[in-house]
Amino acid sequence: MSEIVKRAQEELDKRYNRLVALNASSLCTRCGLCADSCHFYLANGDPEVAPAAKTERVRSVYRRQHDWLSRLFPNFTGARELTEDELDAWVDIAFRYCTMCERCTVNCPMGVDTPVVMGAARGTLTAIGKAPEILVQLADAEIARAESIDIFKDMLKEQIGFLEEELREETGDPEASIPMEKEGSEILYVALSGAHTILPAAKIFHRAGVDWTLSFFEASNYAVFLGDMKRAKAIAQRIIDEATRLQVSEVVITECGHAVFSYRWSTPVWFGELPFRIRSLIEVIHDYVRDGRIQLDQTANPDPITFHDSCNLSRKSGLAEQPRAVLESAAADFREMTPNREKAFCCGAGSGLVAVEEWRDTRLAAGRPKAEQIRNTGARVVVTSCDNCRHQLGDLGEHYGLEIEVKNLAEVTARALC
């Protein structure tokens, strides 16, 4: 056994917890229902990329180590030894042909959680240096910001200064601001680097009269895609420390699927009980509309609009109804795709795939079911609450000639503010 395979086996075993063990057990009945729920299988018809087949590649290696029958009779049970060639194949099945969207899981009669097994494979590949380089670089850049915050503070403040000028122009209020480092604020808003996640939210907070402050850090956490929970926790720690230092009442995470998912579900595991609550911007906008803190004019968004459910938000976090309620108030002609909510198709580029340039063709092909759904609505605007999906939907629009604009919920809401 080579050194790299030995290390990979150790890393794989480290991740063999009860959840992985259950999903890597013989729960799968090979019924094949998962295949038709997977956008990668629908794109190329290759049985090797069907969820059951992808899981089986990892499962068969686990079986060799952890199942007594497979230890004695590996050929009989189909158990396999880990090899370097197998690890190279895992890069494709875990990073390239699985977006960990969980659509296979909700369609599986046995509830096999393929992403849990793929996550163990991703973590193992990252630990031995086989993860896509760009994902590692993006995760490291997030940590670099925290390690050298004094270097980046001035740059960030200059960036926000430019946006503040725009905010004042657009609101007509010379006092409108994008506060930073404001202690005791009601909200610490954690955006992404892109202005489209800062400016519309700032307009909404301004109109709602909220006492808020903008985080120095971005919401995204690329280490989650790597299955590297140690690094993911370090990235999340930056926000937790900032919120604690500023003594805010609430942390609001911008429209970013994996960020909302990880802050919603992982932070309680990593950090225990916190002195502030964590919510998504979607929930906050929904509450402002429901409670009358902001009023919206539907005629501001007259074109037919449809909504794309981010897997991390709708399927994995139950945030399916709130954006729809907002769109009913903010748009004149809201149309549903079918299927939607927890049964929606993945955009085809989740879990970091959108950032891997050399796999662009794979994600464009995998987005075909989503492109067909959009075309069938006749919508000219597609709203989504995930930046990963936003990039992919824009590319799908060009690739499949959909003639659409892609916006986030805050942009559509801000445009409709009365």
Partner: protein, 88 residues
């Protein structure tokens, strides 16, 4: 490092590759630069222009994480420009 008032100040820097990142938002500018820099020799310089102010934070952080050298970053109206040198 601070943002130059005008990218005109960066005249004199010789670039081996020019990237147009206008209209792209986080993390695409970083992804494009990371991909493009692999095609340069060590010491080669990328010059890029962008419209998303997010590059002001993202590009320095990416350079810090990867070891590539950010030679200059500046603003010209609503556009931003930066020069990155491949270090390894």
């Amino acid at each position: 490092m601070s943002v130059s008032e005008s990218v005109e100040e960066s005249e004199g820097l010789v670039s081996d590759l020019v990237l147009d990142l206008k209209g792209l938002v986080c993390p695409v500018p970083v992804v494009k630069v990371a991909n493009a820099i692999k095609g340069l020799e060590v010491g080669g310089v990328i010059e890029a222009s962008a419209t998303d102010p997010g590059v002001l934070a993202d590009i320095p952080a990416w350079c810090h994480a990867t070891g590539h050298e950010l030679l200059r970053i500046g603003r010209n109206g609503r556009e931003f420009a930066f020069w990155v040198k491949r270090a390894k």
